[in-house]
């Protein structure tokens, strides 16, 4: 589900934003190797100080699993001030009815393949729906997104192909960045919704978002889906034992960290089950 965090409600969402900056550090710094500034495991730049709108996806476990940053093109934004080489020396678009989308990412560590709720594809679509609907309500007609070719292919495959590009794709550090145009129209939104099978309202109120984020952290309830999950491998059994004997939050966090470290040893589905199962056991203990 989606929460939009801007300068007005940001004081309520310091912890959510902190998780978001950590996610951005993992994706843009560690995984994609973009030339971004990371401090204390968080990726932040000066555009984050200009009160942008952050479209943030929080899953049922209360984890921040996707995000995107929106700025007005009439004011300072990345294409005019940082990525201008993409535009081949041309002046940037400036229009009150065009917003810029940057720092679009999803958590590939917590999300799996396929089309289910905990998949990369689902959360990608959810963030796009959230941002387009938010823009449309604001009277905005188009958005220009700075993306890499991988994200471009994801968009093309998910009923959400950009209708045009500005300038030309340019190498930015280790990757290529491009400026894609997308309309914030009903047709596009319903296309994404059809593809992802999302018919419900994706927006959370401030209170719902806080409950989801805090609730899942405080009392992880054994969910029906994971209740019957039996740890099979030695490694999985080990994690469950560790979790059962954990007596403090630090120890539980240490187990989670180890699961993350070794996550290349199992499938995303197994990992999701693992991350939920030990919590269920811990709750019973």
């Amino acid at each position: 589900m989606i929460i939009v965090i801007d300068g007005i409600n940001q004081h309520k969402f310091k912890d959510v934003l902190d998780e978001m900056y950590k996610l951005r550090a993992r994706v843009f710094g560690d995984r994609l190797g973009w030339d971004v500034h990371i401090k204390d495991g968080r990726e932040r730049d000066h555009f984050d100080d200009l009160h942008p709108a952050h479209v943030v996806s929080i899953n049922d476990e209360g984890d921040v699993v996707g995000c995107m940053r929106l700025l007005q093109t009439t004011g300072p934004h990345m294409l005019s001030d940082v990525f201008h080489t993409i535009l081949d020396g041309e002046a940037p678009i400036r229009s009150s009815q065009v917003w810029e989308a940057t720092r679009f990412c999803v958590d590939t560590r917590k999300l799996g393949r396929g089309r289910g709720e905990n998949s990369v594809s689902y959360v990608t679509s959810e963030v796009m729906i959230g941002s387009f609907e938010y823009a449309k309500m604001a009277g905005v007609l188009d958005s220009i997104a700075v993306i890499d070719p991988v994200m471009n292919r994801v968009l093309q495959r998910s009923g959400n192909a950009p209708y045009d590009y500005l300038g030309t794709a340019k190498p930015m550090g280790k990757v290529v960045a491009m400026a894609a145009l997308m309309d914030c129209s009903d047709e596009r939104i319903s296309g994404i919704r059809d593809y992802a099978g999302i018919a419900h309202d994706v927006f959370l109120t401030d209170e719902q978002a806080l409950d989801l984020f805090a609730g899942a952290k405080a009392e992880a309830k054994p969910s029906v889906a994971n209740f019957d999950h039996q740890p099979l491998s030695q490694l999985e059994k080990y994690f469950v034992e560790q979790m059962n004997s954990a007596t403090s939050k630090d120890e539980i966090d240490a187990v989670f960290k180890l699961i993350e470290e070794l996550s290349d040893r199992f499938t995303p589905e197994q990992k999701t089950a693992l991350l939920s199962t030990p919590r269920a056991f811990a709750h019973e203990a």
């Binding site: 801007d6 300068g7 007005i8 940001q10 200009l50 009160h51 942008p52 709108a53 929106l70 700025l71 007005q72 093109t73 009439t74 004011g75 300072p76 005019s80 535009l87 041309e90 002046a91 940037p92 678009i93 400036r94 229009s95 009150s96 009815q97 065009v98 917003w99 938010y134 823009a135 309500m137 604001a138 009277g139 905005v140 007609l141 188009d142 209708y163 045009d164 145009l181 309309d183």
Partner: protein
């Protein structure tokens, strides 16, 4: 920190007032106002078509020092419905009095950020039911965005320095498209000529119009010719 009524400065009165008044007449609002903060001095400059008694009351009580429609709205990129504000002391101080002057707390503010990081705010109010308000918002939000940028540019261009800084920087595509419009081509024709989608043509035209401070495409063509950016068709 002063509160400057732009209507009192005669060279400014016409255009900002026109925009504010036409927002009310054409889009169906009771009152409209425009405000911007001077980033150096912290003065609030603005124009409003509220009743004079309210404007005087507002200024004399120094509400422009803490009015949430100003200080909260600059924190958003999207138009802010006043329903979003906490009913704290500041809100109550302004809106309890506003109510006595017949001004409703049902309103919204469209923030415009300029290239120098400055912010302009177009606010509108209308006393009506919830349903009516939601319907109106959906219907006019795009027009309000355009009016807000128009009002902001008009005020920003009033200074000599600002005028120089605001010389429109049109991209080659924007000029090219305006040139083809001047030649009498339709949006679809231009898309075909330049091998781009008509939606892209539209985006460039919209951006070009706003940079030139024009409401309509013919007005933009006129200004672009006047500035020597394109040739007469």
């Amino acid at each position: 920190m002063k509160l400057i009524d732009l209507a009192a400065l005669d060279h400014e009165e016409k255009s900002t007032a026109d925009i504010i008044n036409s927002v009310c007449e054409e889009l169906g609002f009771d009152y409209a106002s425009y405000a911007t903060m001077n980033p150096v001095k912290g003065d609030v400059q603005g124009y409003a078509n509220y009743p004079d008694e309210w404007k005087i009351h507002y200024g004399s009580h120094g509400y422009h020092h803490f009015d949430p429609t100003i200080y909260q709205s600059v924190l958003s990129i999207a138009p802010v419905d006043w329903g979003r504000f906490n009913h704290d002391e500041k809100f109550n101080a302004v809106f309890r009095d506003a109510h006595d002057f017949g001004i409703t707390s049902r309103g919204l503010t469209v923030p415009v950020r300029g290239p120098f990081g400055e912010c302009g705010l177009l606010s509108v109010t209308r006393n009506c039911s919830d349903d009516e308000w939601e319907k109106l918002k959906r219907h006019v939000m795009g027009d309000l965005q355009m009016a807000a940028v128009q009002a902001h540019d008009t005020v920003m261009q009033s200074g000599v320095l600002a005028k120089a800084l605001y010389l429109p920087a049109l991209s080659t595509r924007e000029k090219e498209i305006l040139q083809w419009v001047a030649e009498g081509k339709s949006q679809q024709d231009i898309g075909d000529i330049l091998s781009i989608s008509h939606r892209t043509v539209e985006v460039h035209m919209r951006s070009g119009r706003e940079k030139l401070g024009a409401l309509t495409t013919p007005q933009a063509i006129g200004r672009a010719i006047g500035l020597g950016l394109i040739a007469p068709g």
